[in-house]
């Protein structure tokens, strides 16, 4: 019904009143001649109103003569009459044409990129990679080569196992899947040793396979073989096995940092400068004349305002507020206690980033010392307990194909 009404509006129709002694006669003639009439209703004695198309109305005169009825146009509806009514309003017409052209041009660009799939993938990195490969907000939709972008993203982001890029109208849908890391594959017949991942003193051994070369209390160095996967036997000869087990050792992490004796104090002088930017489809349009900042030191405060941000549609227009505050930098003497506190925090950050995933910190010791320039330094030693057994392939070529077969190897 909606379609019929829409078609009626586009083609235009008129409501006519048939006046005469027998309006039904005219309706019969119209029906017989294929003139389509609808919404026919009686409005009084010998008066009937109905709707018909513009073309049908042109064929009415002969029918009216035959039926001795009079036809009067009551109202006109539809686009042709609307255009005719406003035919001399050139500015209005050109405005509508301009609106249609602008809408068409805007529909040619990608307005929104929607990423679905694995949540672990860093969206910012993915958007950067997509941008490098030719898909960003503001890209011409027809220029997007889905396959080329997909290949480029797969090449640039190794953590992805699958990417799909699809552009629908003004929106792009990107679906990603994270790659499942390949497990450590132990090849049949090959020997694997456990070697020390760092220096330490062994505190416990829990070996399920392999020949143990060290004992509790031994000092070991990085790279030293702890458990061997090559086993020499008197009956079966040489066996090659992958070593399994846990070698727990006490390890030490040491870092040094200077103790700060002064602290930077940043004070705003009150002078400010604003440099705002309008971003449209990823293009930044500066709303200022000079790019230079006359301040020697400054703090920059940025804020982004998305236009129509409350609506569900994320439009590619945003306003960037950048405010620069003039800063005066002064230094004040720092008490030793506070300096050491800052140095300890710095050391903690440094060492924590070096620690192994399973390391447990048992003890922390600090030592203060003065260097040749007279500067105070702080050294931290973290005593940890961790598994230092690292699997490494043994450089040994077995003769037999069978895993653990030592018949041939034993002859050598």
């Amino acid at each position: 019904m909606l379609f019929v009404r829409l078609l009626g509006f586009l083609r235009g129709y008129i409501t006519v009143e048939i006046i005469g002694r027998s309006p039904q006669r005219l309706i019969n003639i119209c029906v017989a001649r294929g003139i389509f009439l609808w919404n026919i209703r009686c409005v009084g004695e010998g008066r009937v109103q109905g709707c018909m198309s513009i073309n049908a109305f042109k064929n009415m005169p002969s029918a009216t003569r035959k039926s001795a009825c009079r036809v009067r146009v009551v109202s006109r509806h539809g686009l042709p009459f609307l255009i005719h009514r406003h035919r001399r309003r050139y500015v209005f017409a050109s405005g509508i044409i301009a609106l249609i052209i602008i809408c068409h041009i805007l529909s040619l660009f990608v307005w929104k990129i929607e990423v679905t799939g694995s949540e672990e993938i860093d969206r910012a990195v993915l958007m950067d990679t997509l941008s490098k490969n030719g898909l960003k907000v503001g890209t011409l939709a027809s220029s997007v080569d889905n396959n080329a972008i997909r290949r480029g993203v797969m090449r640039d982001m190794e953590e992805l196992s699958w990417v799909s890029v699809m552009v629908n109208g003004s929106g792009a849908e990107v679906e990603v899947r994270k790659r499942v890391p390949k497990p450590d594959i132990i090849e049949k017949g090959k020997a694997y040793n456990l070697v020390a991942s760092r220096n330490g003193v062994i505190t416990s051994l829990n070996i399920s396979q392999g020949v143990t070369y060290v004992d509790v209390g031994n000092v070991v160095y990085k790279g030293q073989i702890l458990v061997s996967g090559v086993i020499e036997t008197t009956q079966a000869g040489i066996l090659t096995v992958p070593s399994f087990g846990t070698v727990t050792a006490t390890t030490w992490y040491e870092e040094t940092t200077p103790v700060p004796d002064k602290q930077e104090i940043r004070t705003r002088t009150g002078d400010t400068k604003s440099k705002h930017t309008l971003e449209i489809f990823g293009w930044n349009i500066p709303l200022f004349l000079s790019d230079k900042i006359s301040f020697e030191n400054f703090d920059r405060v940025s804020r982004v305002n998305k236009l129509w941000r409350n609506s569900k549609i994320d439009l590619p227009f945003s306003f960037h507020y950048d405010k620069f505050y003039d800063i005066e930098i002064n230094y004040k003497k720092l008490p030793l206690k506070e300096g050491i506190k800052i140095a300890k925090n710095n050391l903690k950050d440094k060492i924590t980033s070096e620690l192994g995933p399973e390391a447990i910190v048992n003890n922390i010791t600090y030592e203060q010392w003065v260097d040749q320039k007279g500067k105070l330094n702080l050294t931290a030693v973290y005593e940890c307990s961790e598994n230092i057994g690292q699997k490494k392939e043994a450089l040994y070529e077995p003769y037999g194909e069978d895993y653990g077969s030592g018949e041939d190897g034993g002859d050598n």
């Binding site: 309006p23 009439l37 026919i40």
Partner: protein, 87 residues
């Protein structure tokens, strides 16, 4: 004679009468009534509509009746239809 042959074909093949015999067909859906194979309008007022159909006349009584659409062989009538009479 011709009518009887057509009637026999309709009975034998189970093809609907309105297709072979050109008889009228009335379908009423809610407040809308459709008459297929109608031949013309004899009388029209909001309370009474008389239609010419093959083999007689179809009289519709009611109130506020209006012709929704009128094609060469089909007419759609809307409004409050109180009764249908076939003469």
């Amino acid at each position: 004679m011709k009518w009887k042959i057509k009637e026999k074909i309709a009975v034998a093949t189970s093809i609907p009468d309105e297709l072979i015999l050109d008889t009228f067909r009335v379908v009423m859906t809610g407040r809308e009534l459709t008459v297929e194979n109608f031949k013309g309008i004899i009388e029209y007022s909001p309370t009474l509509i008389r239609l010419r159909v093959k083999g007689g006349r179809l009289t519709l009584e009611g109130s506020g009746m209006e012709i929704k659409t009128a094609y060469d062989d089909e007419i759609q009538i809307g409004g409050r239809i109180a009764g249908i009479k076939i003469d």
